[in-house]
Symmetry: C2
Subunit: 358 residues, 2 copies
DNA sequence: TCGTGGTATCGAATCGATTCGACGATACGT
DNA sequence: ACGTATCGTCGAATCGATTCGATACCACGA
């Protein structure tokens, strides 16, 4: 038999060099064979593959290939909260679904960056090889994780997050969408309207929002959805929830609806369908008829399968498209391109939860 | 200034060698400084860190470190279905939450391996550097992805999946749990009992299960949950759903309950809380009183926040613990250990959906 | 027969860090 | 003052593949 001209692994699993030697070719050729390059003869490729099979070699080590290629095939999705909470949000799930759809078709994997403290640990970001990161459900402004990633040279895509230089933004027209629903309510004669907001900051605060609190809001989309209401009604009372969850919607609903009828709002604009669902539940508890006594509108167009036959009036956003756009932008960044920001349209969907003011 | 004794990167981002040169130390020392080794003086570490800051070097490249260390810091979670469906399952989410809790504390990331075809693509598995993989919500027997992973030498943990040699199994006592709930129903006088099963295979089949279909079941837990009922009642009719979703529970409920009263079961044992929730909805539609006319039991102990005040009788499994156990086992495998299989206990939780037979 | 063009394969450099054993210097004990 | 620990730093090998430019080979035409 031929002597070994290439360094072989001392022990353990075979490497490409082992396979090459066994097939009687150079490592370079073996590599070409595995990558399916047309520069290698079918016969040679066959020999290499046979040798690999004989040695139990399952293909080039992804880590080594990553180093050489300069990319790992992993893209991170930053979901600020711990998984359990983040994934109670049907919008988050659908967004990630859209992302994986695109990434999967490129053979790239999606890695979840979560943190019970609200941020993924810097340690994690430092240790894990990421080709790019997508800020999915946590577009907090002034995010330290975003800074860390950029310092490492990891390209970043932000979904409905802060406007940062050099970061691709995938956005929807929150403000116009909410304004449309507000316009609808106004046309229906509503004048006592309040809005139930998603958290302005992740500090567990819950309750009416004053000017100073509002000025310190961390999330651009939350601000825009407030402004949309104000575009039609001018200043309205804002009730902030501690998280985007049904239970929070219930709490908010009870707080706002369990008051004397003359002070009770005739319509509530929730910043998400999940919150709206909670409000509906609170209204039912209090014996209020929707939409007879109260109109309720949401945002997202999520399919809340547990809502039963109620069709929520809402602003439908193309969540899955948003996810695909984010992933596509991320892939472009990895390829060295400079994808443009994306602004996606939203549209009003009128359901059975809004009617003329009582 | 000193001449460069170490090879520096020709252009682009600085490397550890660049930093080392600037700090006037060797690359080895710089590496030690970054890893926080006690073998390096505080003063030296300071010099290195200062040099790094000056150069805009954010720390060692994770890919290169991965190659040298032989691990990537990424663990894959195989969720068979596409994300959108997999994450409608509250149990899956809670399981993943438990997993990330442990992984996060080790600075390791969780990568989702999904596939709308039902399996993650082999291509993906080949390209992405994985230290280990956890089969989370798809313990299908004879899974090609499992084979691929093992061929690549990726350690595998299976949650409630097939029994495979050399693969760590995290299991719960499905059969005993279901038997307990069946015993309860039996003691309550129920004799016409049927069971609503999760998919036996992922082929979209829905309806009564005959012997041949049952023999071709792909999932061990599904089989065990059937056997648990049979342990008490002997052979019972089995209705298979096409997926573990509320809508499927509704469909099953309608099929089984919309029949003449004398043929209608007095109790239904669902293989999951999600399916049970659907059954409850179907029963309500048909005007059946639960638990007056019909007793319903589930499995999982998931918190279905949309169920309202109904407390489902169910078999509670420690889902989050299961996730933590899986992640812990995965970490052990990465470290070269041979973690033992784990069998977790379950317990019956009696709610308001079961009562004496009518 | 020799030159030329095209092609399949090969060599060697390279990606960027980690780690182990070696080495020099300092401190200490006698 | 000299031998010996101790401690901090350094050299060099190594992880395993990819890729570009070079080379060897073959066929073909003049």
């Amino acid at each position: 038999m031929g002597h070994n001209r290439y360094r072989l692994t001392v022990s353990g699993r075979p490497t490409l060099a082992t396979v090459a030697t066994r097939a009687g070719v150079s490592p370079s050729t073996a590599s070409l064979a595995f990558s399916g390059s047309p520069r290698v003869t079918a016969a040679t490729r066959e020999r290499v593959l046979t040798a690999a099979a004989a040695l139990g070699y399952a293909g080039p080590d992804p880590i080594a290939a990553s180093l050489r290629r300069g990319r790992s095939g992993v893209i991170g999705a930053v979901v600020g909260e711990r998984l359990l909470y983040a994934f109670r949000d049907p919008v988050a799930i659908q967004l990630l679904d859209g992302i994986t759809e695109v990434l999967g078709s490129h053979g790239v994997g999606l890695l979840l960056l979560a943190g019970d403290t609200g941020r993924p640990s810097t340690e994690q970001i430092a240790r894990i090889p990421l080709d790019a990161a997508i800020f999915a459900t946590c577009g907090q402004e002034d995010d330290p994780a975003l800074e860390t990633l950029r310092a490492r040279g990891v390209p970043v895509v932000v979904v409905e997050g802060p406007v940062v230089d050099g970061v691709t933004l995938i956005d929807i027209d929150d403000r116009r969408g909410v304004a449309e629903v507000a316009r609808l309510l106004h046309d229906l004669g509503h004048r006592r309207v309040e809005t139930v907001a998603m958290p302005l900051r992740l500090d567990g605060t819950r309750g009416p929002v004053d000017a100073s609190r509002r000025a310190r809001a961390h999330y651009r989309d939350v601000r825009h959805r407030i402004e949309g209401v104000e575009d039609v009604f001018g200043p309205v009372p804002i009730f902030e929830t501690a998280s985007n969850a049904v239970a929070e919607g219930i709490t908010a609903g009870r707080a706002l609806l369990d008051v004397p009828a003359h002070r009770r709002p005739t319509a509530l604009v929730a910043q998400s369908d999940v919150l709206a669902a909670g409000i509906l539940q609170a209204a039912a508890e209090l014996g209020l008829d929707v939409p007879g006594d109260l109109s309720v509108a949401g945002f997202d167009g999520a399919d809340l399968h547990w809502l039963g036959h109620v069709r929520l009036t809402t602003v439908v956003q193309p969540t899955e498209v948003k996810g695909r756009a984010a992933a596509t932008a991320a892939m472009a960044l990895v390829a060295g391109d400079h994808p443009p920001d994306v602004m996606l349209p939203v549209h009003l969907r009128i359901g059975t939860t809004t009617a003329v003011a009582p």
